[in-house]
Assembly symmetry: D2
Homo-oligomer: 304 residues x 4
């Protein structure tokens, strides 16, 4: 079967099924999304494309953008990055603040909120115009030119961002935040505000499936080793408190967002993005997880 | 022996002794204080006064001001205050953030930082001009008219206040902070910026030694029951992680500040304030503790 | 009013009132007690006695026995005791294990379970026949001769004592338990198994109201300073997570047990014991607390 | 290059290099091992074998045995196993006890000590003679017949096993341990006492590289899905607090033990076991990690 046939088959099989879950409620921009949206887009390293449903409609990618931010700072700082953030999975969310206390302000990995806030802080230190620099990087990795921040979403996030403010203040008390607290939070909320389609995501993250190379011109965006490490971190830390479950069921490195999006990478094979806004109890797209599980089962292309 | 004789005797006995300890270092206004300052002032309920040393020199009272803030909100809210803050001693400081997580944003007592921040938030909600209202109350309880905030100290505190900002943001994420984070922090740092002398402190807190009555006109500032409760909270929670030690050694309700001041109350007997800037490892005035221990031993007026 | 008149008055006033609460359920010996039992017994330093209700009926004193165990080891070790257990109140019970981790196996105070287990371990190290030595001490402090362990209660406690076993094992991993885990647990459960009446308790703890002296022969059981410290620890740590509340409402040093008993000490004045099996949510006798609150209010003999 | 050529090349390259690290010290049986031992053994799914150094010498496999125990209970209970133990990586070890508190006695995964203790408890419930049943399973998966417990190591482990005893008691207080505490601990320490060579390990764990099939007769030991899940758990949880690091550097599912052994699985390709007793700060074999990193780099057979 071609990828398109697999995607169509599963999408039809699952089209009538109830996957449960609730759309994220804490901001209007997520709460008011049509909960029945569903899109999937695959881009293989050989250039094959396959898709289904709302694959071309932009949605709030939220934490998926953290992979781009990590790629940018890793490219700039190299291995010295790991002095400020770890690479190990974290325990349950209850422990996030006490973990920072225990580890003197060093977050466990770059995908928990504390870690992504440190990554944002580094970007602020690196560039005179950090927002512009980040967008330039995000656009450059795939030949896109239209990635922008959504000010309205960023504003809504900020109004509910007190826990993130607690994290960044605590880390600043330990000296692991170098810029102004407000500036770090503003950048973080902007990072999480980007809206993209499944097609966009599958294209943008191609470099992670081809050893860090640009899909169009073959230039190195990040090194092969850095690509391997980012994939490894996605494998162990990409799905909040469900990384183990995703590793088992889907068996691919990936990253989810509370907007219901998931990007998954099969190194040397393809990138695949899915979108379905209803979230399971751990905060990951319920139908998105089920689709990817079936997809790797049918293609028998899991890494395990 | 009269109180004056006891105070003079102990002060002379202890004058040459090394009590160790370090002056608080985190802001200039505390770091640059002469570490050898020492003052003590007692005011008995019968009107007797006794003092020694730098008893008339103003210093940064810091957390001691939290007793005034608590008195004001308790007077206004009555027992409903305890829905937003507890009355139990807290464990070690390591647990302060995890405790807030576990108790859904309700601090253990009004003297730990988190609790005092909630008290500040309540004051902001109560008055159109909270700073003026607080100073009016502080001045009124003793016939003083000159208590003011020290803007320079407040400013320095704020520059180092990231842990407090973490606490207030975390509590706001739980809904236990009603005003803007910045406004709560600003008021809190102003509260901690007040400078007063030992004489001032002994006079201002007289109401806690006379059942909540005003020392000059006999009017009720807070009720007898409220006075008893505030004294009880000072007994169990007034000395950071050394409340048990102070209860044993001194045996009086009291409250310390990182400026090296301590106010202690002997209900129906007297108020006594001491000041010596060097702090022991738990953050309380080393010589101040030693003086009060000897004082209650010689007067055999401990409550135990 | 005489003490007897006060006790009779309050007992009658409160006799019809519902104080709610539930009898401890975790072992048969507590669960099957008549929940309506109520007794009170006061012994003043001048020899006055007053009582009401089931004051002469023995009940399971549980944690109240920890005060006797503490007195014995404090008498033997002096201040070196505090190297193995602290004197500060603890936070909420959730933190007990993590507190031991953080403080490398040193419990916060001798009345939380971990602290009492260390006290038991010390008794095991001190005597060739620890049970006999403890009972001899317990009997000697008041001229009693009939205090014994209740094997059946001890056995039941042990069957439910897994959390205590976790605590003692964790402390042993830090080197703060010197004897066999099983031996420490066995002794601890025996200590908690003692049954006494309100009259017994008021008599046995007289030494804490008279500076550590034996009530009959005036010999020193523990020093005056040790007495003061034990009272101080009871004040700040004697009522699980309700020490602050008890300090406010009753204003006396004391210790409660899950059998519904409470002993309270008014230094230089009296000892008073109450018993009512229904416990409030914090694990203290609901009616017992209410009775003592009214008692110190009517006698205006609170220490605050 | 053949596997043998790769193994020989790396072994020679690394033979003079200092990898640092310390041999585990807590029991004699580990402390007294020659720290310079080094062995490696590979068994490919096509039957190819390759080895180097002390590949045929038995050593204490410690936690590696937990993979066998997990396989056995997963085979027997199926998915209902996950009611009693999770599949998510845990945070740092400091949190292990507080995590159990927070999650009501359910460990995060079967490879942290708490989780392995639950697995042992299940084995005790499943069989009248659990030790015999476990050894029969362990021997059967590979045609071995000589796997036994090492009583002396088990005894030594037990003498230092207080933290494990704390864990099992805490879980029992939550009802997640069904058998006697002592019996669970005894079985656990026996499980960890097994000694095997690199060759043995590479042969025994072949079933995890061939979809759960027996390498000799092709019978299903565990299902294909169960195999995938166990590999996934090894990937995210197999290396204490270094699972993320191992995932990046080596990129294979695996499990280490404090004896200095590591087993790694490349699904559909091979199993490989290494042994070098010196441990890095996270408790994993320092040279073993370095060897496997170089091995997957040279063979470019990482899963990322």
């Amino acid at each position: 079967m071609t990828f398109q046939e697999v995607i169509s088959t599963i999408s039809e099989q699952q089209s009538g099924l109830p996957f449960g879950g609730e759309v994220a409620q804490y901001i209007d921009e997520l709460r008011l999304v049509n909960p029945n949206k569903f899109g999937v887009y695959l881009k293989s390293v050989s250039g094959e494309e396959a898709y289904f449903g709302d694959a071309f409609e932009a949605f709030s990618i939220q934490s998926i953008a953290k992979v781009l931010a990590l790629s940018l700072v890793y490219k700039e700082l190299g291995e010295s990055l790991w002095k400020r953030v770890g690479v190990e999975p974290s325990g349950n969310p209850f422990n996030s603040l006490v973990q920072l206390e225990y580890d003197s302000g060093i977050p466990r990995n770059p995908f928990i909120n504390a870690g992504a806030l440190v990554v944002c802080d580094i970007i602020l230190s690196l560039y005179p115009n950090p927002e512009k620099a980040f967008l330039a990087f995000a656009n450059s990795v795939s030949g896109h030119s239209d990635i922008v921040f959504n000010e309205r979403i960023a504003e809504s996030e900020k109004k509910n961002g007190f826990r993130n403010a607690a994290l960044v203040n605590l880390m600043k008390s330990f000296g692991n935040i170098k810029n102004e607290v407000e500036a770090v939070l503003d950048f973080y909320f902007k990072l999480c505000s980007i809206t993209l389609s499944c097609k966009d995501l599958a294209e943008i993250f191609q470099y992670l499936s081809i050893h860090g190379k640009h899909p169009l011109n073959g230039n190195s965006i990040i090194s092969e080793s850095q690509t391997k490490r980012i994939n490894a971190i996605m494998q162990t830390c990409g799905f909040y408190d469900e990384a183990g479950e995703f590793t088992f069921k889907v068996g691919l490195p990936g990253k989810s967002g509370v907007g219901g999006g998931i990007i998954a990478i099969h190194p040397n094979q393809y990138t695949i993005a899915v979108w379905s806004p209803r979230l399971n109890k751990k905060g990951n797209s319920a139908k998105g997880m089920a689709f990817l599980e079936e997809f790797t089962t049918m293609t028998t292309l899991s890494i395990f």
